[in-house]
């Protein structure tokens, strides 16, 4: 098993993908956090709306800070998910799956090795995203004269949960890749779902009375819940789960996708 995990880690580390995606993640997070912190804290100066001053918008300073530190998860989770998915779909795309299965004919073990090998990369992505997000976010808050809450240990707990959330997203990505081993389709679905479908659903569910509770169980919301606040819930689109419940829900998505992938991969011919 160690040999299989070593092989999977080397597969990820020997191409450019992991750092290209990682660098993109840092840039995307820095940009989104800067834009949102700026628009929330300087809204009145910009004259966007007379009442969207921080206090007037109903945020207490602590919620605002937590929401800012959740942004790397809300806007960055597609990156570890894509890395995880490509860890499987890339093997089919480049036909390396042949040699991979020659070296490890036990396909269940191969999927397990991939799920484990992605964890250090997910952690690295989580660290990059949260460090970038906290630097830019705290900088923006301080510039606007808001409290950063970085002297509060429980805030650092939330930030650490953000690292965990992004790591779980990498694992979910591996599951998705196993369930849908077509690289183009899985990337289109991931980008479409994370950037378009889920944000719309979360806003829409907020306005539909019977579905209001359901939006908390969407995967993106579950990931946000791990940090304890969300840009989307701040936009009045439903409550979040408790951090550990969010972790459980997100991990369940990953396990369901992996189970589907396991059934698919263990039964399919590689020809």
């Amino acid at each position: 098993m160690i040999a299989a995990i070593t092989a999977e880690v080397r597969k990820l580390s020997t191409t450019r993908l992991w750092w290209v995606l990682g660098a993109s993640l840092a840039v995307a997070v820095a940009f989104m956090v800067a834009v949102i912190v700026f628009s929330f804290t300087f809204a009145d100066e910009l004259g966007m709306s007379g009442s969207s001053d921080v206090e007037a918008s109903g945020f207490d300073p602590r919620t605002l800070a937590t929401m800012v530190y959740s942004l790397p998860v809300s806007f960055g989770y597609v990156f570890p998910a894509i890395l995880g998915a490509i860890a499987i779909t890339g093997e089919y795309r480049h036909r390396t799956i042949d040699t991979t299965l020659l070296m490890e004919p036990r396909r269940s073990r191969l999927i397990a090795a991939k799920l484990i090998a992605i964890v250090p990369f997910g952690l690295a992505y989580g660290l990059v995203a949260m460090v970038t997000g906290v630097l830019v976010g705290a900088g923006g808050l301080a510039l606007a004269g808001e409290e950063t809450f970085l002297d509060d240990p429980s805030m650092w707990g939330s930030i650490a949960m953000g690292v965990v959330a992004l790591t779980v997203w990498a694992v979910v990505g591996v599951g998705l890749g196993a369930a849908l081993p077509n690289q183009v389709i899985v990337i289109v679905i991931l980008v479409g779902w994370t950037q378009l479908v889920e944000p719309i659903l979360r806003l829409a569910f907020g306005f539909i009375e019977p579905l209001q509770g359901a939006s908390a169980y969407l995967p993106g919301a579950a990931g946000d819940a791990m940090v304890g606040a969300s840009f989307y819930s701040a936009m009045d689109s439903g409550d979040l789960l408790a951090p550990w419940a969010g972790f459980a829900v997100l991990l369940t998505y990953g396990l369901i996708a992996s189970a589907v992938g396991w059934v698919r991969m263990t039964r399919r011919d590689v020809s």
Binding site: I2, R10, K11, T14, L17, R95, T99, L102, P105, S271
Partner: protein
Amino acid sequence: MDAPAIEIRSLTKTFGSVHAVNDLSFTAGPGRVTGFLGPNGAGKSTTLRALVGLVTATSGEALIGGRPYGALEHPAQVVGAHFEGAFHPGRSARDHLRVYASQAKVDTGRCDEVLAMVGLTEAAGRRVRGFSMGMRQRLGLATALLGDPQVLVLDESANGLDPAGVQWLRSFLKAFAARGGTVLLSSHLLSEVELTVDDVVIVAGGRLRRACAITDLREEASAQVRIASPDGDKLTAFLRDRFPAAQALSATAATVPGVTAAQVGAAAFADGLELHELAESADSLETVFLRLTSQEAAA
């Protein structure tokens, strides 16, 4: 000690309604290079994939040393296999091998060793993206050799090699077999592997057409004699009496199978037939191969 043999027993594989492989049985023994030949779509790749567990057989077995691939304890140390195009373009040749080194139970030193064996030491650090077809084939062979196996299963490994590459592969595989190894090499071109293989297994339409030593196949490439005479009527009568198996090419020319020029010449002299042409020609091995794999042979 001799390497394990490859045994295909009544292997059948259907994809939907298509019979890719149909009740195929053959053996590839140790110390021999076995050519697995047939036209495109004959079921060669499917058979090899079933042999190494990438494809599950509909019925029948494909065994290595009496066991299915998946039941081998350290498969990479017993069987080295390579299928076409299994490289990530952005990975260097050495990294490609290093990825699999842990599973083949070898260290990085072995990666450089196999790269040297296939003559890729200079290109070790280059990304596969820039590799020629021949270099990819060499890297594929290096991958197969990583675990120092006793059995090689190579899918179209001579494809795309230049003449020097084919010659290099030939001497490499012959030496491997001479040390007791088992080699099963598929190809759709007999001419490409003709001088490399000891045995041939010829398939077409998923069925076995012939399994024999290459020397037997050469004997089958029988001689024939072409004759021509200005006297068409006399030629026809001569052939009817002497060589009923002859085939007319025109009113004044014909071919006679399974004889030598001397035999036909002597008979024509005895019968007083004027000959303007008397030439021996042999079916090439390629012709025999084409005949074996043609549609008529299936009927």
